[in-house]
């Protein structure tokens, strides 16, 4: 009951005309930027962060909700129409969706992804609304040592457990942690890794890092391998609407995708790749039309798209209730909160319920707006996709540097942006994951201060980490998650030798 009252209160906040307008602008901008090839939701949020500088926190977070969902929709449109998924989570969509578009069924593919995202987003947001207060009740009992342990779990799952290589994932994470050290130590006021440069005393800006790694890095990477592939834009031919048959084949995958996406997103496991691929392989197994898979089966778009959106809403559960970002996009959302000095977590639910519940309610509204906007405007989005590549990437880079120029027009900050761009390029080239760097930068300093607080309370006794049952359990989980990929890899090698 409490949840309903809170949610109704949030709705009242969200339907104020100005807030509706913010949501609409957010949805529109988010889709427009997210639809550009190579730009995923995380970068969309990072690029559009400066636009919200001048708003009040409530309005800006509501615009964020719109940008977030808009970026997701935009990304799937790109995946379907030109087979360049902006992020690994829309890879499964690209697999079948692009085949459908090639076969002249781009319209239904876009429709099932839009409606599926709507269904999944709505169910998952309801899940968020009901799960959040319960988790908050649990989280208020967390001491600093428990928070530290929780962040260890997030570090490990984001970087090591689910990637291709735990070593490369952890390397990315530690680069992020190193960047997090830069600046004045909050407890003692001493400068770390600043090398006497005054601009570095404030630490590394999350947006500078994210825009550098994602936008500049991506532009450099695409430019370096331009000679390999020519992308082809599939025109949307035929009807936009789904037939009765399409509906019949789509609704179950939508629901199943949601069931995969939301719980996995809500666990601090990070990333939407796992649920989307689980959903894809599940649909492939359950379908009545196995011969169509690989040639454009609508189930293969409906399921993963729903899973993707549900897990995006799922990642908001740990973000809002614990302040724990488990994906690059969630990390950018956290940066959005931090620019107003707000720290998501149980306290925020108690202190600013209007803000948190207004945000959750805005997710519903953004979802509805997208359903109405996305399909009729698909012609406009397709035209955006047709921008010639040189102008597109030139525009992206101008836009990317503009954010930094507007926030901090200093030579040092811009050089850092360029430096992170080179880092992002090299990481792409040598196959290091990028999200752990951003998560490490954001969570590293928080984890350190929680650990130091815990040790100060226990008068320096490190056993405090094991004496709290919550912290002990979480640390054990982190250890298992860290060792699991190495053990499994060893077993895999053993098996390979047997054959």
């Amino acid at each position: 009951m409490e949840t309903f009252a809170a949610l109704a209160h949030g709705m009242a906040v969200a339907v104020q005309p100005m807030n509706l307008l913010y949501a609409l602008i957010g949805v529109f901008l988010g889709t427009a930027v997210g639809v550009l090839p190579g730009i995923g939701p995380a970068l969309t949020v990072a690029l559009l962060l400066p636009v919200t500088y001048k708003l009040d926190p409530g309005g800006s977070l509501i615009m964020f909700a719109g940008i977030y969902y808009g970026g997701m929709y935009g990304g799937s449109t790109t995946a379907i129409l030109i087979n360049t998924p902006g992020e690994s989570a829309s890879m499964a969509t690209a697999l079948e969706g692009n085949k459908m578009a090639k076969a002249g069924r781009g319209g239904p593919a876009l429709a099932t992804s839009a409606i599926g995202s709507f269904v999944a987003g709505t169910i998952a947001t309801i899940g968020l609304a009901f799960l959040a207060p319960w988790l908050v009740d649990f989280a208020v009992r967390f001491g600093p040592e428990d928070y530290f342990a929780l962040m260890c779990v997030a570090f490990v799952t984001v970087s090591a457990t689910f990637g291709d290589s735990p070593i490369r994932g952890l390397t990315s994470l530690f680069i992020g942690l190193t960047l997090g050290l830069v600046g004045i130590d909050k407890l003692t006021g001493q400068a770390r890794l600043a090398f006497g440069v005054p601009e570095l005393l404030d630490g590394v800006e999350v947006t500078t890092l994210a825009v550098g790694l994602f936008a500049v890095g991506e532009a450099l990477y695409v430019a370096s391998r331009r000679h390999h592939t020519e992308e082809k834009l599939e025109p949307v031919r035929g009807s936009l609407w789904m037939t009765k048959e399409d509906w019949k084949r789509s609704w179950k995958p939508w629901l199943r995708g949601t069931m995969f996406g939301f719980p996995i997103g809500a666990l601090p496991a990070g990333g939407a790749e796992i649920p989307t691929f689980l959903s894809y392989s599940c649909e492939k197994r359950l379908t009545k039309y196995p011969e169509e898979f690989g040639k454009g089966a609508i189930e293969g778009v409906a399921g993963p798209e729903a899973a993707n959106n549900a897990s995006a809403a799922g990642t908001l559960v740990p973000l809002l209730t614990l302040g724990l970002p488990t994906s690059a996009t969630a990390a950018m959302m956290l940066a959005g909160f931090q620019q107003y000095g707000l720290n998501p977590g149980p306290l925020l639910f108690a202190e600013r319920p209007d803000l948190v519940w207004g945000l959750i309610a805005s997710l519903f509204i953004a979802n509805c707006m997208l359903l109405v906007l996305n399909l009729p405007l698909v012609g406009l989005w397709v035209r955006l996709l047709a921008i010639p590549q040189p102008w597109l990437y030139a525009g992206i880079l101008v836009f990317a540097t503009m954010g930094t120029i507007a926030a901090k027009p200093s030579v040092v900050e811009l050089s850092m942006l360029a430096g992170f761009g080179v880092l992002g390029f090299l990481m792409r080239r040598f196959d290091f994951p990028i999200a752990p760097v951003v998560v490490g930068l954001i969570l590293g300093p928080i984890a350190e201060s929680q650990l130091r607080r815990a040790l100060a309370i226990s008068l320096g006794d490190p056993m405090t980490l094991l004496q709290s049952p919550i912290s002990a359990t979480l640390l054990a989980l982190a250890l298992i998650a860290l060792l699991a990929p190495f053990v499994l890899k060893g077993m895999g090698r053993f098996k390979a030798n047997e054959d």
Partner: protein
């Protein structure tokens, strides 16, 4: 996704991987060197120098891990990369930073970046692109300056507006 590929390329020592390992080890050394200058003023628990040392140890371990991967040649295969466009874009970024640093203003700086990036992606119509870039960045400047009232760095061109 490509693990367990039955056809494995002949394993060779990966030079780039060794460089990566060396860079990580270097970063760890910088962290330790920097941490030595910090004073531990805390009575109980961890001072500011503890975490850098922990992270440095992690980096050192990862340097070893990356070195092993490189020596085994088990890094993922890379496609050939064309260095020319990368250098062009970086030159564009350097131009942008230089122009902003010397007070050349937002419009000139972003136009320079636009034109070099566009050239990096294969366009040869430098004059047309320059015109497009100047018009676009002027519009962006006006939008930011007048509508959002965010101040962007002004140079000679901006003062004419």
């Amino acid at each position: 996704m490509t693990t367990g590929d039955p056809v494995q390329p002949p394993r060779r020592v990966d030079r780039a991987g060794i460089v990566i390992a060396a860079l990580l080890a270097g970063l760890a050394a910088v962290l330790v060197w920097d941490a030595r200058g910090l004073q531990s003023t805390t009575m109980y628990g961890m001072g500011p120098e503890a975490m850098p040392v922990v992270i440095a140890s992690g980096l050192a371990l990862l340097a070893i891990g990356n070195l092993v991967d490189a020596l085994r040649g088990s890094l993922p295969a890379r496609e050939s990369a064309d260095p020319v466009p990368v250098v062009l874009i970086l030159a564009g970024l350097a131009l942008l930073i230089g122009i902003i640093g010397f007070g050349g203003g937002f419009i000139l700086a972003t136009s320079a970046l636009f034109v070099t990036t566009s050239a990096a992606f294969g366009r040869r119509a430098v004059l047309v692109d320059s015109a497009i870039a100047l018009v676009m960045s002027t519009l962006v400047y006006l939008a930011f300056d007048r509508l959002l009232t965010l101040s962007l760095p002004a140079g000679p061109l901006e003062r004419l507006l």
